[in-house]
């Protein structure tokens, strides 16, 4: 049984007491301590800046050419905080409660309460950095409601909230670069973790321009490397988002928690052909005024405007009369997939449903609809070439976020001492389903406010001797990385990394996606094992290891994705229940809702690597609910 080290005491006092009880490092000693931060997204940039401000020597890494390009930059909607500026009876407790419930009772109370507690300080910090949040005419900050919450607690900066928060965090990071407290390594990809006597001591990186493989030693390592949604090949993530850093750490001993918990967003712009490289999100808010439908007849290829009312199936309104088009993300997504699987999908690929605004336009007028959704309609038209005022939008679900990640305790430490994980890379706060506008909050909470406290507690126990970069473990890790790169280049087969990645994505989407079954998952595991063999026999990588070589980068990442895919399927197969984003067809209520099994599955599944091609070992962290009583989610 895993110990999450949640402090004792009342929920409300845990973090306060813990912050008081941690051991501190004397300011003069901090400068003798080195901390590596991998990733410069919201979590990484905020952690690196805050730790440098405290006096630690920070070494920050990202594979991008600039810290500012981390995928956090793409978040649109907003960030939650329990400010209660609207006098709506919002509170830290309510945000905590909503998050626990939204996560379908698969998250830790202690962590989530802390998240809600520090949320208010995140907004203060960002505003002080010059983040231009939306304002009201009186000069106060504006809020909106988001993701079905009953209160308006979401702060936003047009549709570019992630961008603005990231630029704020990166400006704090830049300030520390200027001050000489952060050494920033851009275009560096972490390819392995160095563990000595069971403790994290550094990383191995590849300079993506020169190809140089080098190790870096430090007293502690933080991984803030983002989510792994690209295991499905197509997702709303950026092309470079990957699992390599956390997967290699996993293979060095860090447990991987709840890998199968994936969030699929119902309204994305559908793929238009085989060449599709990524998917673009269309805001959830569109379902307030758009009606989702497909033709009743299988294979009806008529222009949507020529299909009469009585031959249309408004399937969400039909199946969920009370919620209609506003059913939660997972229900909407699954139903859209179902009608497409029946052959009633629309558009050139048959993998889409209509989202129709004709009725709203008739009711509200085009101006009103444009005022609400103008920018989204424009983006849609840019990508599809179709005008949604004239013809219904086509939408399809897409992978959007991964709740799983490296297992961490209350201190955000993984099962390897000295190795921490933050942001989307850890599994900590969202349980089986994340609420909208909560990922940005969690990334910044981890980086600004949690790690600076908890990592000091660890560092204070180490002594201040420099970590010896000449220890043979560093050389060995470098050699292993080099050998692997040579292996990838020398297969000289026939399939490109993208081809193999697409094949993986198809297996994952079809069988480990929205609707999972034991049989499908078993098949998926067998197919992925075969794909892994094929990968190592038939991969083709052009170029060499000593130059900028995107094919090589993709190859390494795809290899890791295949292994992770297998673990995700294993995790989904073992979890004989449905909860949040994890839906097993065998476990649903008569109304088609997720049927949780609290008796047998109220735990975090933390997987332990056992060696190449070996089944992983399941470890459990039991979840205890002292403040909130688990209940069934209902959409009636």
């Amino acid at each position: 049984m895993l110990d999450a080290k949640i402090p004792n005491g009342n929920l409300q006092d845990k973090w306060k007491n813990h912050s008081f009880n941690v051991k501190l490092v004397n300011p003069a000693n901090k400068r003798k301590l080195d901390v590596i931060v991998v990733g410069t997204g919201l979590a990484g940039a905020s952690a690196a800046a805050s730790l440098a401000e405290l006096g630690y020597n920070v070494h920050a890494f990202c594979f991008h050419d600039s810290a500012r390009r981390a995928h956090s930059v793409a978040a649109q909607g907003g960030i939650n905080a329990a400010k209660n500026y609207k006098n709506e009876a919002d509170s830290v407790y309510r945000l905590f409660y909503d998050t626990i419930k939204g996560g379908d009772f698969r998250a830790r109370e202690g962590n989530v309460y802390r998240l809600a507690e520090v949320s208010v300080k995140i907004i203060d910090q960002s505003v002080a950095q010059g983040v231009p949040f939306a304002r009201e005419y009186g000069g106060l900050l504006d809020n909106r409601s988001f993701g079905g919450a009953q209160v308006s607690r979401t702060f936003y900066a047009r549709g570019q909230t992630g961008q603005q928060l990231l630029y704020g965090a990166v400006s704090a990071l830049n300030r520390q670069v200027d001050a000489g407290k952060v050494k920033l390594y851009t275009r560096h990809e972490m390819l392995d973790l160095v563990v000595i006597d069971g403790v994290a001591r550094g990383i191995v990186t590849r300079d993506l321009v020169s190809g140089e493989i080098k190790s870096h030693a430090a007293h502690a390592v933080i991984l803030a490397t983002g989510g792994y949604g690209n295991v499905f090949y197509l997702s709303t993530n950026a092309k470079g988002s990957n699992t390599t850093a956390i997967w290699r750490a996993h293979k060095k001993g860090a447990y991987f928690a709840n890998p199968c918990f994936t969030q699929i967003h119902p309204t994305c712009i559908p793929a238009s052909g085989e060449y599709q490289s990524k998917l673009t999100l269309m805001s959830e808010s569109l379902r307030n005024d758009g009606r989702v439908w497909v033709p009743k007849k299988v294979g009806d290829k008529r222009n949507p405007l020529d299909i009469p009312e009585e031959e249309r199936d408004y399937f969400l309104e039909r199946k969920y009369p009370s919620f209609g088009n506003l059913v939660p993300r997972d229900i909407a997504a699954r139903n859209i997939k179902e009608v497409c699987d029946e052959g009633r999908g629309v558009g050139p690929t048959g993998q889409a449903s209509y989202l129709d605004f004709a009725e709203s336009i008739a009711r509200l007028g085009e101006d009103q609809v444009s005022a609400r959704y103008g920018n989204l309609f424009e983006m849609y038209e840019k990508i599809t070439g179709e005008n949604p005022y004239k013809t219904p939008m086509r939408i399809y679900p897409a992978v959007h976020y991964t709740m799983g990640g490296l297992w961490v305790d209350y201190n955000l430490q993984t099962t390897i001492p000295g190795l921490y994980a933050a942001g989307e890379a850890n599994f900590s706060d969202h349980g089986a389903n994340r609420l909208g506008a909560s990922a940005l909050m969690q990334g910044l909470a981890d980086g600004y406010f949690v790690l600076p406290v908890t990592i000091g507690d660890y560092l204070s126990t180490l002594g201040f001797a420099k970590v010896d970069g000449n220890h043979p473990a560093f050389k060995q890790a470098e050699d292993e990385v080099k050998a692997r790169i040579n292996q990838l280049i020398n297969i000289k087969g026939t399939k490109t990394p993208d081809e193999l990645h697409r094949a993986l994505g198809k297996i994952m989407w079809d069988k480990v996606g929205m609707a999972r079954t034991a049989d499908g998952l078993k098949q998926a595991i067998a197919e992925m094992k075969q794909l892994k063999e094929e990968f190592w026999k038939d991969l083709k990588v052009s170029g060499t290891g000593e130059e900028l070589n995107e094919q090589l980068e993709k190859a390494g990442r795809t290899a890791d994705f295949i292994e992770l895919g297998i673990l995700m399927a294993e995790d989904a197969l073992h979890r004989n229940e449905s909860c949040g984003g994890h839906f097993r067809l065998e476990y649903q209520t008569e109304e088609g809702e997720a049927r949780r099994d609290d008796e047998n599955f109220m735990y975090v599944a933390a997987w332990e690597y056992q060696g190449e091609n070996q089944a992983e070992k399941l470890n459990k962290e039991n979840l205890v609910f002292e403040s909130v009583k688990p209940s069934q989610r209902s959409y009636k």
């Binding site: 995928h71 793409a74 570019q160 300030r175 599709q276 406010f449 094919q551």
Partner: protein, 260 residues
């Protein structure tokens, strides 16, 4: 819509020391729904299969927000469509039989790394010289303590929206980074949080911009035309004003005083 057969002339350069040249490729049967970068993906898959070196180009989010992508397409930064980053450009903007010339950003301060990928780290070094507010984590007052009028916040946002793509530099006949630098200076000069350090900031950032080898601004205005975020010349005007104030009144740098 029918598919396109195209001739591509793409700048190939192995590394910074190579002299580089345009190489001609044919791509066939490209869907008009594909994005420009997806068209390059198709070319690259083909090249890899044939045992040739694929074309290196920068990209990541593919939705116009990370600022990674960017090349010259038929002589225009980010291609023919205004207010659009290269990744948002779709093939329906081209015709069957077109010849498309694709080149990297060209500026002394942006050395070519490979093919269409250039080194834009000079932009980050400008930001590192003061493109921030000096506030440590935990030291911030309540977010609503300082009121910011909505028009001021909105105007600051238009500067803050810069994605750091470098198209402004590439579009400028002088390869000046004025619009990029102005976007940040203007954002922080407008907001009360940025005011205390405004004079030091403008002087330091401009000095760094000059050190990096960017050219001078002669008010051509091509930068704003090609900027995917449509950042306007008003920000350059604000930068100039800030700079003149800083220079004219010569406020002491270490102990900032409000001049106006």
């Amino acid at each position: 819509m029918s598919n396109l057969n195209l001739t591509l002339k793409i700048w190939r350069q192995r590394n910074a020391n190579d002299s580089g040249k345009l190489v001609t490729y044919k791509v066939n049967n490209i869907s008009t729904h594909a994005s420009f970068l997806e068209m390059l993906d198709i070319l690259n898959e083909d090249l890899v299969k044939k045992g040739e070196d694929p074309v290196a180009f920068a990209h990541d989010c593919r939705e116009g927000i990370c600022g990674s992508c960017g090349c010259y397409i038929n002589g225009r930064a980010h291609g023919p469509e205004g207010g659009t980053a290269t990744c948002q450009l779709h093939m329906r903007k081209f015709k069957d039989g077109d010849t498309i010339t694709v080149e990297p950003w060209r500026a002394k301060a942006f050395p070519v790394i490979k093919d269409l990928v250039v080194d834009r780290s000079a932009l980050d070094r400008i930001l590192q010289k003061g493109g921030y507010v000096s506030v440590n984590t935990g030291a911030a007052p309540d977010a609503n303590e300082i009121l910011v009028p909505k028009p001021v916040a909105d105007e600051a946002f238009t500067g803050a929206a810069c994605i750091g793509c470098g198209a402004c530099v590439a579009a400028c006949p002088n390869a000046s980074a004025m619009l990029f630098t102005a976007a940040k200076i203007s954002q922080l000069a407008l907001l009360p949080q940025g005011k205390p350090e405004r004079y030091r900031r403008v002087e330091d950032m401009i000095a760094q911009m000059e050190d990096e080898g960017f050219g001078n601004c002669t008010n051509v205005g091509a930068c704003s035309l090609e900027c995917p975020k449509q950042i306007g010349q008003n920000h350059i005007a604000r930068l100039n004003r800030e700079y003149i104030l800083a220079k004219t009144f010569n406020p002491p740098k270490s102990n900032e005083v409000e001049v106006i």
